[in-house]
Symmetry: C2
Subunit: 174 residues, 2 copies
């Protein structure tokens, strides 16, 4: 990104967060929750951008297109609605992403033989070959990004995130 993101070596992050604290005062603000959520968004944005620049740029794949193809690579042929759920996007968005991938022959659509409302989507041979080459590089970057946390902290981090995820889902089940 040309303008970059907010600076955040430890000192600056703390400064920014302390700034917020100073400006909002102490009253009725859950700073711990604020720090958790804002850092989740910051890391997600930065990491997505990082992956798009380092691993995905050479192939001209967007992060979402990569995720979609990755899901197909792991799960095999899927109905569009299930693919959308796994990729974390709406069915409307999926239509566009699949069209993009299909135009590059990384993916192929076909009707479900028993229910013509459904569309089945699968990675082509080219798509699978691309993922076989891309995923190791992608995972190596994931490794780099988390290398300053030891194994225990990585597991704790993933686990805490799963707890938050479960909480969100239970709130929306209402």
């Amino acid at each position: 990104m040309a303008t970059g993101f907010s600076s955040s070596d430890n000192k600056l992050v703390s400064m920014a967060e302390r700034d917020v604290q100073h400006r909002l005062g102490e009253t009725d603000v859950d700073f711990e929750a604020l720090a958790v959520m804002s850092n989740i968004f910051r890391v997600a944005n930065r990491a997505r951008y990082h992956f798009e620049r380092t691993v995905l740029a050479t192939e001209g794949l967007s992060f979402t297109a990569f995720t979609t193809l990755w899901v197909l690579w792991i799960w095999g042929e899927l109905e569009a609605r299930h693919l959308a759920v796994h990729a974390g996007i709406t069915k409307g968005t999926l239509t566009g992403v699949v069209s993009t991938l299909a135009s590059r022959e990384l993916v192929i659509r076909r009707h479900h033989p028993d229910d013509r409302r459904l569309v089945l989507i699968a990675a082509t041979e080219q798509g699978e070959a691309l993922m076989a080459e891309l995923f190791p590089r992608f995972n190596a970057e994931e490794s780099s990004l988390t290398k300053r946390l030891n194994s225990e902290r990585r597991r704790e981090l993933a686990d805490s995130l799963r707890v938050v995820l479960r909480t969100i889902e239970s709130l929306e089940a209402t």
Copy 2:
């Protein structure tokens, strides 16, 4: 979202991740890093969607528009380039977001008096009033989303995320 997201009570998350493990094998895959990063993206997507539905929908504000207005509320008038950095978007994107906010009179643009290349952006009174009403509700939701983690785990979570953030930035400083 109409199609929802991937199911993820603890059992299902683990099942999905175990599926991945089964399909990828053990060789040369950093599953801990994969679990960390994929859960960061999952939580960020779900949480953004949750905030847009619960807190922001009533005011018709996008998550990015909210973030931008929030930054102005905390920091006061800012140059466009700095606002973009704090909001985590490019300057080109900021132009559109600020135009949207300005059309609703939540924000106002003016030229920098000493350097006419620069644009200064500030929240209007309406914008500040909106944030004063919206932020407490937003923070209450942040609180809800993290309530299943105790104070120590929340601090650890935020801290681990800061470590990852710092790592990404150090990688890009190259």
